[in-house]
């Protein structure tokens, strides 16, 4: 509303954030856990003088750099790019609140990059002690970047007392902070081990070495799984009431919650029975299956974490349709089109007849020709609804959701979306604008699918028979009356 709304047909632009985030998290957790793995295991290999293991670790470090420094770093930038495009108001609020959090994260990024390259490229040239210290500098920096970004993402789900205080630290140490740091740290341990298994299954040819890798990485992975569960529980307990309700009300989230629980348990059991008890099981097939399970768990978790925030982007601060919570009453009074920078400019340019000076005269909107009213309804749809709904086809398309709806049903949802579904943002316009949007939605709503039977045909046949009988009786009575006269 403050900004132009980026229209992505079929998918909706915020879904691009979800896509890129999912692509990023499967590597970003490895960037943290893998760093700890390399630091701990390099130390172990130096201490035990295991040159075969050291040699493997060096090979793994190269794989680690290729995956995390290139793909991980760039997809991380990609998230930043996408949130600015698809969710500019929330990004503006986050950056104004946490710019120094991000700036601190940048310092740790630089340390990560420098230490990762020195750790790998100077392998065998640095004193073992210095080499290990540099490995630990990477591990600590990577974990600190996890902590910093988690403070910001956790804030979006539950900012706690921030709306009253508006200060950095109150926002950063929000109720979701510790649970999410635990869960993400656990996820980093777990996923790193799965990456190690995947890499080792193909690259470590020696059985003894593979057994050692399997065993050494099993323990952090098991601890990681436990941390994920503990953090997940804390996450659930620190959810705002609306998020918990969304989790229970949305069928897709129910299914995903069960799925993530089943996958986490399955990974735990596989870890225990596989690498922990029988390290020899570490075959490429087993590692690929394992890895797929881990990726499924992490991506499902991310999706749930994002989805339960609805109707907010930042809980109680920014709503899903790019409106600040505090702006809603004013918009209901003066109009959504009037309140939006780009919507007001659109109306002023295309429909100067509804302008009263520099302001939109809401009462004139319904005097426009029908086609123009629907056009403005479409503008309202783009800026008020397209965050979560495609138009006629695609992600949660309203044309499909409203199949066969009556005008009253559409009007009810438009005027009180938050009452119909609590996870939708409230209507943030005037009654005139609600009428415009209703007209547009009725235009794009598909008819109810044909051929569906609920027994009406039999009911209709029966009522037709009764009607015919009644008409026949009436006719007989009239004939009798005429005859008596």
């Amino acid at each position: 509303m403050h900004y132009p709304w980026w229209y992505v047909p079929f998918l909706t632009s915020p879904m691009l954030i979800a896509v890129i985030s999912v692509l990023h998290v499967i590597v970003s957790h490895y960037a943290v856990g893998g760093g700890l793995f390399l630091a701990v295991e390099t130390r172990y290999a130096y201490r035990t003088g295991n040159s075969a293991y050291l040699s493997y670790l060096r090979e793994h470090a190269w794989f680690f750099i290729l995956v995390t420094v290139v793909y991980g770093a760039i997809t991380g930038v990609g998230i930043w790019w996408t949130i600015g495009l698809a969710s500019p108001l929330a990004t503006e609020m986050l950056i104004h609140t946490f710019v120094f959090g991000w700036a601190m994260e940048y310092v740790f990024f630089v340390l990560e990059i420098a230490s990762a390259f020195i750790f790998y490229y100077y392998w065998g040239r640095l004193e073992p002690k210095t080499h290990q210290v540099i490995g630990w500098i990477y591990a600590a920096s990577a974990w600190m970047s996890l902590v910093l970004i988690t403070g910001i993402t956790a804030f979006m789900l539950n900012p706690g007392a921030w709306p009253e205080h508006l200060t950095f630290w109150v926002g950063f140490f929000n109720p979701q902070f510790i649970p999410q740091v635990l869960a993400r740290t656990g996820g980093a341990f777990l996923l790193a081990s799965l990456y190690v298994y995947l890499h080792a299954a193909f690259k470590a040819k020696d059985q003894e070495l593979r057994d050692l890798i399997g065993l050494r990485s099993a323990r952090p992975a098991l601890w990681g799984a436990i941390l994920v569960i503990v953090g997940g529980l804390g996450w659930y307990l620190a959810l705002p009431e609306s998020a918990r309700a969304a989790l229970e009300a949305a069928s897709v989230l129910n299914v995903l919650m069960v799925l993530i629980f089943v996958i986490t348990v399955a990974v735990f059991v596989m870890l225990y029975l596989g690498p922990y008890r029988h390290p020899g099981w570490l075959s490429p097939g087993f590692a690929i299956l394992f890895f797929a399970f881990g990726v499924a768990a992490i991506t499902t978790g991310e999706y749930i974490r994002e989805a339960v925030r609805k109707p907010y982007i930042i809980y109680n601060v920014v709503l899903g349709h790019q409106v600040l919570v505090d702006e809603v009453p004013r918009l209901r009074q003066s109009g959504f089109l009037e309140g939006g920078t780009w919507t007001r400019a659109f109306v002023a340019h295309h429909y100067p007849q509804v302008m009263n000076g520099k302001e939109i005269d809401e009462s004139r909107l319904l005097q426009l020709p029908e086609a123009d009213q629907r056009k403005l309804g479409e503008v309202l749809f783009q800026y008020h609804c397209n965050d979560c709904h495609a138009q006629t086809r695609g992600f949660s398309a309203v044309g499909q959701l409203m199949r066969g709806w009556t005008p009253e049903m559409v009007r009810t949802v438009v005027e009180q979306p938050e009452k119909v579904h609590f996870f939708m943002p409230p209507w943030s316009g005037t009654p005139e604008e609600a009428e415009l949007l209703t007209k547009y939605l009725l235009r794009i709503a598909e008819p109810a699918p044909g051929g569906m039977r609920y027994g009406e045909q039999r009911i209709n046949r029966e009522s037709s028979r009764l009607d015919a009988q009644r008409r026949s009786n009436d006719h007989s009575r009239r004939v009798d009356r005429v005859a008596r006269r």
């Binding site: 770093a73 950056i95 940048y106 340390l111 783009q382």
Partner: protein, 378 residues
């Protein structure tokens, strides 16, 4: 349509630091970002040309230019975070609309960068085997990455020129939107300043590449022979000279051919004329130093060239900032926002920044004391 009507409301939280602080880190961060960015922007093309057409020394220069490129790109991408972060704090009213209008090309940078970055790794992996390792397909990948970086530069120039060209928004918006919602397919190609600006930056990048070759020859290539180092200095001089001519030509087109009269008048009158003059003539200094030091290559001289080029880039970054503010003046007063300083996070950031520099310096010291890196894997 009046462009100022497209300017959104101010953020209710205000700036988390004084404007001067935000702009200081924006300019400092951009200067740091420009050094590696210049090296991949023009350096990869220079390396490809040297490898393709040059003699043994030229191919060696190409090799030495490309070998650290994965590290240069990683650092450059990271150094880009700070200026973009502070830009989004202080210039959010123009940054978000401009990038949303060209959302797909802007987002394409991420895809192009990923492909180009892996392309650099593919090329550099071939360098392990010397000249023979650069097979035809690796060479093709090298050229592709060079072109991709040029395309990315073009897209960045689009975004940052569109950011200040608010008067172009209404037309771009109306021609590329559905019911008022942009499709994100606009580009700022009808801006007369776009092309010279993009090309001028390439000239600057060439000078940085030339300076880097000189610094490498004098400071980092201690294991190389003297004839090589002298040859490298000659190549550095040629690259620098081409960059200087290029920068002067397209810079003149940019300044005298596309700047509005008001902007030109301001930048050529007191006190800004000093900055304009220094920005224009500064690139001559590293060029002169390379010319003077080409026969006897010493580490001190090379460090001086590096320092001078840093000054050139810093002056350019400061000038760009001044011009950006002047261009935005009719639409936006970036200094007029309310300020709500976040003292403790600000101080903590500064402390971490200094501590981080200390840790990096320690690691570099350890690294330098061990000589050149092992290149296995890339």
């Amino acid at each position: 349509m009046e462009p100022t009507t497209l300017m959104g409301p101010s953020n209710p939280l205000g700036y988390p630091a004084p404007y001067w602080f935000l702009v200081l880190f924006k300019v400092l961060g951009f200067t740091l970002h420009m050094i590696p960015m210049n090296l991949w922007y023009a350096g990869i093309i220079v390396a490809m040309v040297l490898s393709w057409r040059g003699d043994a020394h030229a191919r060696r220069v190409s090799h030495r230019l490309m070998k650290p490129m994965p590290v240069i790109i990683a650092l450059g991408v990271n150094f880009g975070i700070v200026p973009l972060l502070f830009l989004q704090v202080a210039y959010y009213k123009v940054f978000y609309p401009a990038t949303i209008l060209m959302a797909w090309p802007w987002l394409a940078i991420i895809v192009l960068l990923t492909v180009a970055y892996y392309g650099v790794y593919v090329y550099v992996a071939g360098l392990r085997q010397g000249d023979e390792g650069i097979t035809a397909w690796r060479r093709a990948v090298g050229w592709l990455t060079a072109v991709l970086f040029l395309v990315m530069g073009f897209l960045f120039s689009n975004a940052f020129s569109l950011m200040t060209r608010v008067e172009a928004w209404p037309k771009l918006w109306q021609t590329t939107s559905v019911a008022g919602a942009p499709l994100g397919i606009a580009l700022n190609v009808d801006d007369p300043a776009l092309w010279p600006r993009w090309l001028m930056m390439f000239g600057l990048a060439l000078t940085t590449t030339g300076a880097y070759i000189a610094v490498d020859a004098g400071l980092l290539a201690r294991g190389e022979s003297d004839p090589y180092r002298r040859a490298a200095m000659r190549i550095a001089l040629k690259v620098y000279a081409v960059g200087l001519i290029w920068f002067a030509a397209f810079g003149s087109w940019y300044v005298f051919g596309t700047w509005p009269a008001e902007l030109r008048e301001m930048m050529f009158s007191e006190p800004w004329v000093v900055l304009t003059g220094l920005t224009a003539i500064a690139p001559g200094l590293p060029g002169l130093l390379i010319l003077m030091g080409r026969r006897k290559v010493t580490p001190q001289w090379a460090a001086l060239v590096g320092g001078a080029q840093f000054l050139v880039i810093a002056l350019n970054a400061v000038s760009r900032q001044v011009v950006q503010n002047v261009e935005l003046r009719p639409y936006l007063d970036v200094t007029a926002e309310r300020v709500n300083i976040q003292w403790s996070p600000l101080i903590l950031f500064l402390l971490l920044f200094v501590a981080g520099l200390g840790v990096v310096a320690w690691m570099l010291r350890k690294m330098v004391s061990r000589g050149e890196p092992v290149v296995s894997g890339g």
